[in-house]
């Protein structure tokens, strides 16, 4: 029973290949425009623009590893942003711009609870009714957005506290944007939970073979509820982050967040069939579209090529995963 060598293990890992793709992309853009690509400013803006999506994608990674899907994250983000901003305004006579950290804290909790509530609803429906996750979350995708727009009367909610905008939104810590720091912390915790804890192990087991997990006594339903709840709460947090960054709770512009998160997760080597994947891969997968977009802008390629390039990489990634599984299951 010899272990495999480090080299074999690395070559077998999807993550390595994705990291290579990302490095090649950066190298190519860097070679074409070294003056514009490899700068602190480019790095900072790319990171900031990606951090909200990254937080969504961490939750999505857990969901997809259970062989589920969550289409509702973008709408839950909107809903949570709206409830959070409206709560903060209500506490300050209709405009929270001058409010202090106490208000911000209430806003954060409101966003988290709003997100978690939608996650709980998703989880209960998926785990208890047997309705496919695709349909359950397609429902909450529409419902959460509708609910957010009802609450805000269909318009954006402004009045975000300045301390929140200046602190979390655009503030930095030793040159690193606070938004990026928060996303990094969330990602690190997510990666550790998934790869080192019993919760993570059970997440893989349920996605790999739900019946086997049930037979060994894992509380499958309970675990599924917890995973969707986690994805919802992270969508709530992402809503709060977007609120801080844009200083407004926007009810538009998040229609494709769900698909971007799914694309990042899948590009990162997480299998749509469940049972395999990693948060580290998701980080790389989320940055591939981001780097493509940024690179195309800098290099001067028409930016409409970006979704096409992402689509090609995405389909290739899933094709690769599928043929790998087929080869394995034929044994």
């Amino acid at each position: 029973m010899s272990g495999r060598t480090l080299r074999q293990r690395l070559l077998g890992a999807n993550t390595l290949w994705i990291a290579l793709v990302l490095l090649v992309l950066i190298a190519v853009f860097g070679a074409i425009r070294p003056d514009a690509v490899l700068t602190t400013f480019t790095l900072q803006t790319t990171l900031v623009e990606t951090s909200v999506l990254l937080v969504l994608s961490v939750g999505m990674t857990f969901v997809i590893i259970t062989s589920g899907i969550d289409l509702s994250v973008g709408s839950v983000l909107v809903f949570s942003g709206v409830t959070s901003a409206m709560t903060m305004n209500a506490l300050n006579g209709g405009n929270a711009t001058a409010a202090g950290w106490g208000t911000v804290l209430v806003g954060l909790v409101t966003a988290l609870v709003s997100g978690a509530a939608w996650g709980l609803l998703n989880g209960l429906l998926v785990a208890r009714t047997g309705i496919p996750p695709l349909i359950v979350t397609l429902g909450s995708f529409g419902a959460a957005l509708g609910a957010g727009q009802l609450l805000s009367n269909g318009s954006n909610v402004s009045g975000v506290p300045d301390v929140l905008g200046n602190g979390l939104g655009t503030g930095t810590w030793f040159g690193v944007p606070n938004l990026v720091l928060l996303a990094a912390v969330v990602t690190a915790i997510g990666a550790l939970v998934l790869s080192t804890t019993r919760f993570g192990r059970h997440t893989y087991a349920i996605g790999s073979n739900e019946e086997a997990a049930r037979r060994v006594g894992i509380g499958v339903r309970r675990h599924l509820v917890a995973v969707y709840l986690l994805a919802g709460a992270l969508a709530g947090l992402a809503g709060f982050m977007a609120l801080a960054y844009f200083r407004v709770a926007s009810v538009t512009g998040h229609d494709t967040d769900n698909l971007n998160a799914i694309a990042g997760v899948v590009l990162g080597g997480t299998s749509l069939f469940g049972g395999a994947g990693s948060v580290v891969g998701t980080v790389l997968g989320v940055f591939i579209p981001a780097v493509l977009r940024k690179g195309f802008v800098i290099v001067g390629v028409n930016v409409y090529w970006q979704p096409i390039a992402v689509a090609v990489v995405l389909v290739a990634a899933v094709w690769f995963d599928q043929s790998r599984r087929r080869a394995r299951n034929q044994r």
């Binding site: 804890t197 919760f199 996605g207 790999s208 060994v216 299951n329 044994r331």
Partner: protein
């Protein structure tokens, strides 16, 4: 004779108007492989479900280790040291053998990390390697997904998992059904090793030569009732088939 480890008497199980078990009895001793055979619909699977807690019998008694027991669920059976290996490979193909062995019974690190739910992967791998060696399950790699192993190795891991956790008795529902010749032999070797450790092994199989090769005793079910009992060394495939089809029956079964 030694007192049996498991003694089920006159079990009755009805599904609506259908009587799957009509007073079925079954006996298993520690340190023996006993095969449970019967034609399709004879009630083998129902009997095993009743004895492993997956179903509740409508009548009859189950005596385990000399005491009458009730098995309201699989957890209750597990507490008594009864495990079941299912024919359809109830493993998680994306997890490695050690993770599968400890699935649902993960070891946590000591101290604060353990309280946070952090797994002790090293210890699990160490113990798993030991258990696989002890049971003669040979794996080239302990850290590849189990789906990348051959069918025989996969089933050996499934068998090993039940055996490691079963203190007393293991039900194996057609553990070799999906396997090739070499792989089948490997699983049967594991079955014998388990018996030699003093556990009772109940094997359900349709393969008569296999039944005779690996069992110490054979019990035959027909139409929801035990119709014959044989010592494997003193019987033939013809006798077993005769008992299954009703051509042959024993008065005292």
């Amino acid at each position: 004779m030694v007192e049996p480890l498991l003694d089920a008497r006159d079990l009755v199980k009805r599904y609506g108007g259908v009587e799957a078990l009509r007073g079925a009895s079954f006996t298993a001793h520690a340190g023996e492989v006993v095969s449970l055979i019967g034609d399709n619909g004879a009630g083998k699977s129902t009997l095993v479900k009743c004895l492993s807690g997956a179903e509740q019998p409508d009548g009859g008694t189950i005596v385990f280790d000399g005491r009458p027991v009730a098995l309201p669920g699989p957890a209750a059976a597990r507490e008594l040291g009864i495990e079941t290996v299912y024919q359809d490979l109830a493993v998680a193909p994306d997890l490695d053998p050690a993770a599968n062995l400890f699935l649902g019974r993960e070891l946590l690190k000591p101290g604060l990390l353990g309280r946070l739910g952090v797994l002790d992967k090293k210890e699990m791998r160490r113990r798993a390697t030991g258990s696989f060696e002890e049971l003669g399950v040979s794996l080239q790699d302990v850290d590849v997904p189990i789906g990348a192993l051959s069918g025989g190795q996969r089933q050996s891991v499934a068998v090993a998992r039940s055996v490691v956790w079963a203190g007393r008795l293991v039900f194996m529902d057609e553990p070799t059904a999906a396997l090739g010749v070499v792989q089948r032999q490997r699983v049967l070797d594991v079955v014998k090793r388990v018996r030699d450790r003093g556990l009772a092994v109940v094997l359900i199989s349709h393969n008569m030569p296999e039944v005779l090769a690996v069992s110490d005793r054979v019990e035959v079910l027909r139409l929801g009732r035990r119709v014959a009992r044989f010592t494997a060394a003193d019987t033939t495939v013809e006798e077993l088939v005769g008992a299954m089809t009703g051509a042959l029956s024993q008065e005292d079964a």
